[in-house]
């Protein structure tokens, strides 16, 4: 089973997907994807995951870059499958931990009291430039987490979208590149209708995303969506009724 793959490479810049941290579900496994962006000799790790995945991810990342060279670790939101390992990663290297300002007050519960090590994101997001390229933290609040961000990498044109675009499937991560949007629509629908807060947020997020030239959506669970499938997903998500729009289902 392939659980690690380079999804972008141009000599100076590289994006890698790891997907081996499975969350057991009643009917299926929920695979968790972690991502690593390497630009020359520095790197950013995206949603490193739970405490249980720390050891394995540490080894995998070490194969690509010395852990000490991690410059940032980005946590899209505070769920344990995203941020459970903050404490251990904060000990392992000097990287700055990028999280929403809203989660700052909970950082000590994850084992972090040195806020100098934290890069708190304002609600509207932030941009980190490197040369002509940039990383843009795009607000994705209430999709599903109340303080949540997607990360756009202008070099690879990949949007690391956290739970947006996540599909619960037996196939996962790098193995599913090539899955078409239509094939995933049903699993996407179930997950997004239940987890996302409402169409108003979907629309606002898609509007922000469209300000950038996104060619691939890389979610935290399930398959990547590329090219036309990425565009189809954005159009579908923009119109999706979910969460509060379907309140009678839940109350």
């Amino acid at each position: 089973m392939q659980d690690e793959e380079i999804i972008y490479e141009d000599g100076e810049h590289k994006c890698i997907i790891f997907s081996f941290d499975n969350e057991e579900n009643e009917e299926s496994f929920l695979a968790v994807n972690q991502y690593l962006i390497i630009q020359n000799s520095s790197a950013i790790l995206i949603d490193p995951g739970s405490l249980s995945s720390y050891d394995e991810l540490y080894d995998r990342v070490s194969k690509h870059i010395e852990i000490e060279k991690l410059k940032y670790i980005f946590y899209s939101h505070q769920d344990p499958d995203v941020a459970g390992s903050i404490g251990k990663w904060s000990v392992s290297c000097g990287a700055r931990q990028i999280v929403s300002k809203q989660w700052m007050r909970f950082m000590s519960h994850y084992g972090l009291m040195n806020y100098n090590r934290v890069f708190p994101l304002e609600d509207k997001g932030a941009k980190i430039s490197f040369g002509k390229e940039y990383l843009q933290f795009i607000p994705a609040h209430f999709l599903h987490s109340a303080a949540n961000f997607s990360l756009y990498d202008s070099r690879s044109k990949i949007l690391f979208s956290g739970d947006i675009g996540a599909s619960i499937t037996k196939e996962y991560g790098a193995n599913t590149q090539g899955l078409k949007f239509e094939d995933m629509k049903e699993t996407l629908l179930n997950f997004h209708q239940r987890y996302m807060a409402g169409n108003k947020f979907c629309k606002a997020w898609v509007k922000k995303v469209r300000e950038h030239d996104v060619q691939t959506i890389a979610p935290q669970h399930g398959s990547l969506l590329s090219g036309i499938d990425c565009q189809k997903f954005l159009s579908w998500f923009e119109e999706l009724e979910c969460g509060g729009d379907l309140i009678d289902r839940y109350y």
Binding site: D55, Y58, D59, S62, E68, G87, K88, S90, V91, S92, C93, G94, S108, G111, M113, N114, Y115, N116, R117, K124, A126, K127, I128, S129, G131, K132
Partner: protein, 504 residues
């Protein structure tokens, strides 16, 4: 071509505004309406003054265009009533008459423009552009002034309100310093502003791959040093900051605080005595704290609890001759209370500034600090998390195959190495000497056995002990074990610290 451009400009400007149009001549009304609808998303129409006033009360449009002579209420009577309701409404009068009486009354009421019928379309478009620009400028001025009051307490700062790359507003100090006539000429001047920022080590200026405006915008509230020439060609030293305006996308205030008088760029005078030098240092330090305060710049505080770094931001509330008052978080206050001191960092300070706690008030969140001294190390440079091991830890250190027999213990340990306290130093121990560590750290349940080589990186002699920093040479699995130990110890120390915090 020019006409076409002004049409486009009006279309762009007018799309967010509502227009109230009052005209009793049905034919004229229909004709004009056709034109207005090309520019405004919403045009409200009335046929006399009375109806116009009612509609105004309902929609409160920012712009009103009205005829003068109408059956029930004249255009001027209506305009006067509208002005009383909402003084900043822009009213344009259209009239076939050019009578002096009408003109004088229009001035009294505060009419924005008086247009003579028949109105050439070009003139109408230009008038509308002028009026909308006026509305926007007033709005920007309001925003600028209200925000200025909240953000800066020092009138001598140069201030520029920008949206993306456009200058929207400036203060008089800005015009005077850059020898510009008005906002229009400053806008042109600002297009090439990067040339004004002179190169200097660690200062902000335009260089390859670095657009100064982008850098400052992306680092809202961070202070930058910059060097500019004044109109007489003299070099001035400024502190630059961009302040993001909340809830307004892409709006920033750029501030330039002239700190030339602090003499930070001046070479040290070799004729000064040591005492004079010290006094000058102290004055510079206090002045820098003043600059930080008047720019409402956040400082960072560093403390540690049993090796664990605790850091938060703080604001300077008051600067006195030999002490300052700062406001910080409760967590940091607790850490300062335990340490009885703290260390301040700011991009403006040349080094980290250590100071003692004079008093602390948990209710007002204020801490008074004094006895300032620069220290050689920056706490923010500390890369790895450090923790003090449990007191029952067993530490054996070997040098030259001999176990050290002096009293020793580990002050703190990190993934990189450890900081050891020794009563005496073994003969021959030097920087780069090889040590061997046999460590048993932690509780019975989670014991870390670590046998590893290390190398001496620093030796420091204190009053009655030595401090030795050694760097470990760890294997990969040992690294992971140590990460595990430090992460657990870190959590335990946080719990312990919070226990103390709750026990106050």
């Amino acid at each position: 071509m020019e006409e076409k451009n002004s049409y486009k400009k009006l279309a762009r400007l007018a799309k967010d505004y509502e227009l109230l149009y009052i005209e009793d001549n049905a034919g004229l009304q229909k004709q004009a309406l056709k034109i207005f609808k090309k520019f405004f998303t919403n045009v409200i129409v009335a046929s006399d003054g009375e109806e116009g006033l009612e509609l105004f009360k309902k929609y409160y449009p920012k712009i009103v265009i009205t005829d003068i002579k109408m059956p029930d209420m004249s255009g001027l009577d209506m305009a006067s009533k509208i002005k009383k309701l909402q003084n900043d409404t822009k009213i344009i009068i259209t009239s076939a008459f050019n009578e002096k009486e009408y003109l004088l009354r229009s001035i009294d009421i505060g009419i924005s423009k008086y247009l003579k019928k028949p109105i050439p379309i070009g003139e109408l478009v230009d008038t509308l552009i002028e009026v909308i620009t006026q509305i926007q400028n007033e709005k920007n001025r309001e925003l600028f002034e209200s925000y200025m009051k909240d953000t800066f307490e020092y009138q001598d700062i140069i201030l520029i309100l920008i949206q993306k790359d456009d200058v929207l507003m400036i203060n008089p100090k800005c015009l005077v310093f850059f020898a510009q006539e008005d906002l229009g000429s400053f806008k042109d001047f600002f297009k090439d502003f990067s040339k004004q920022l002179l190169p200097h080590d660690n200062f902000l200026y335009e260089k390859e791959g670095q657009n100064w405006l982008e850098v400052i915008r992306e680092n809202s509230n961070k202070l930058f040093n910059a060097k500019l020439r004044d109109k007489d060609g003299k070099i001035r030293h400024f502190v630059l900051k961009s302040t993001k305006i909340p809830k307004k996308d892409d709006y920033f205030i750029l501030s330039f605080d002239d700190i030339t008088e602090l003499g930070l760029l001046r070479e040290e005078d070799p004729n000064l005595s040591d005492e004079e030098k010290q006094e000058e240092e102290r004055l510079k330090m206090i002045n820098l704290l003043h600059v930080l305060k008047r720019n409402r710049s956040k400082i960072r505080l560093f403390n540690s609890y049993k090796g664990l770094s605790i850091s938060n931001t703080a604001s300077i509330e008051e600067v006195m001759e030999n002490q300052i008052k700062i406001k910080t978080t409760y967590l940091q206050q607790r850490a300062i209370h335990i340490d009885k001191k703290t260390t301040i960092e700011s991009e403006l300070l040349p080094k980290a500034l250590e100071c003692d706690m004079l008093s602390i008030n948990f209710e007002t969140q204020i801490v008074e600090l004094n006895n300032f001294r620069y220290i050689p190390t920056l706490p923010s440079n500390q890369k790895f998390v450090r923790v003090m091991p449990e007191s029952n830890s067993i530490v054996e250190i070997y040098y030259d195959a001999q176990k050290l027999t002096t009293d020793l213990h580990i002050i703190d340990i990190s993934l990189e190495g450890c900081n050891i306290s020794l009563k005496s130093l073994p003969a021959g121990l030097n920087i780069d000497s090889e040590l061997f560590f046999k460590l048993k750290l932690g509780t019975d349940k989670s014991l870390l056995n670590l046998d590893t080589k290390g190398r001496v990186a620093r030796i420091k002699e204190l009053k009655d002990e030595f401090r030795v920093v050694a760097l470990f040479e760890l294997k990969n699995d040992q690294k992971k074990q140590l990460v595990d130990y430090i992460a657990k110890r870190q959590m335990a120390l946080i719990r312990e610290f919070k226990g103390l915090q709750n026990a106050r």
